[in-house]
């Protein structure tokens, strides 16, 4: 069932999810996106430039966080505008068999625009208790 604009209210939750991240995920994202910056896969390089260790691509976090919205909307193409600020890095530990980091995503309706036929979903995205994205907003076109 796709959500309809008239049945939504500002403040309503659209759900939440927890995303396990491993170093393998970062290597896969590097390959899929073409972003091979070594801070996302090379520990020595990352610490050498003052980072706590290998960190996730900001675009990995942004791209995985929006899946909650795609699935809720029923069509990924309904997301017509999506923005965020990257406020804190997501360090990903070198693990085997367990997550190297966990990203927690939840979404709520931030605004409704009946004229434009859109709803704005505000995402709260945290890892290790810290907000890693700010002003993460997805505008969704709904019937």
């Amino acid at each position: 069932m796709k959500p309809t604009l008239s049945e939504l209210a500002v403040g309503q939750n659209i759900g939440s999810r927890s995303i396990d991240v491993t170093r393998t995920d970062l290597v896969k994202y590097a390959g899929a996106s073409g972003d091979f910056n070594p801070i996302h896969w090379n520990e020595a390089f990352a610490t050498g430039v003052g980072l706590p260790g290998v960190i996730a691509h900001g675009m990995f976090t942004m791209g995985s966080a929006v899946q909650l919205v795609s699935d809720w909307a029923g069509d990924p193409a309904a997301v017509v505008d999506f923005q965020t600020r990257f406020t804190k890095p997501v360090p990903v530990s070198d693990t085997t068999g367990t997550a190297g980091a966990v990203i927690e995503v939840s979404g709520a309706i931030g605004a409704l625009d009946a004229e434009a036929g859109t709803a704005r979903v505000d995402l709260t995205v945290t890892s290790a208790g810290q907000k890693v994205l700010m002003k993460a907003q997805a505008v969704v076109r709904l019937a």
Binding site: A32, G63, Q67, D75, V80, Q83
Partner: protein, 157 residues
């Protein structure tokens, strides 16, 4: 090395065409842990009214970062890539990106602001679809606008 303040207002014209393939959409979707069938099954995408597999909402970053590379790799820009931090990102979709699209990106440097010893640089990629066999400057359709700010950290930042 310092950031060239004259970068503001500079544009880089569309270069090579990016062909959006089904397997690339699937690969990117898996990489961002997307599971919606419209990224994987043509029939599911068609059932939603799309002509082919639909790209995830952040897929345009592939095309935008290729365009950004022109600026970062421009020896005249003064940007040290190892000191670049992604500060913010926005995608405005004028229409969905689907498999079979032939995309080109025109890059505009909208802002250059000194911050400490570094600089915040805002770029905008205007992404267009071009018809098969058409030159990049032929009739084109607006597909997405990707805006990105990068912070180039100064020495000791």
């Amino acid at each position: 090395m310092t950031i060239n303040p004259d970068l503001q207002g500079r544009s880089y014209p569309a270069k090579e065409v990016y062909d959006v393939g089904r397997e690339k959409i699937r690969e990117f979707a898996r990489a961002v842990k997307a599971t919606h069938p419209a990224h994987f099954e043509v029939d599911a995408a068609k059932a939603l009214g799309h002509s082919d597999l639909v790209a995830p909402p952040t897929f345009a970053i592939i095309v935008a970062q290729r365009a950004d590379a022109q600026l970062i790799e421009d020896p005249d820009s003064g940007i040290d890539f190892s000191r670049v931090v992604h500060a913010d990102q926005r995608f405005i979709h004028h229409r969905p990106i689907v498999a079979g699209d032939r995309l080109v990106a025109e890059l505009h440097v909208d802002g250059v602001r000194a911050m400490g010893g570094g600089a915040m640089i805002t770029t905008r990629s205007e992404i267009f679809a071009v018809a098969a066999g058409a030159a990049t400057d032929a009739a084109r359709e607006a597909v997405a606008t990707a805006t990105s700010s990068i912070l180039v950290r100064g020495e000791g930042q």
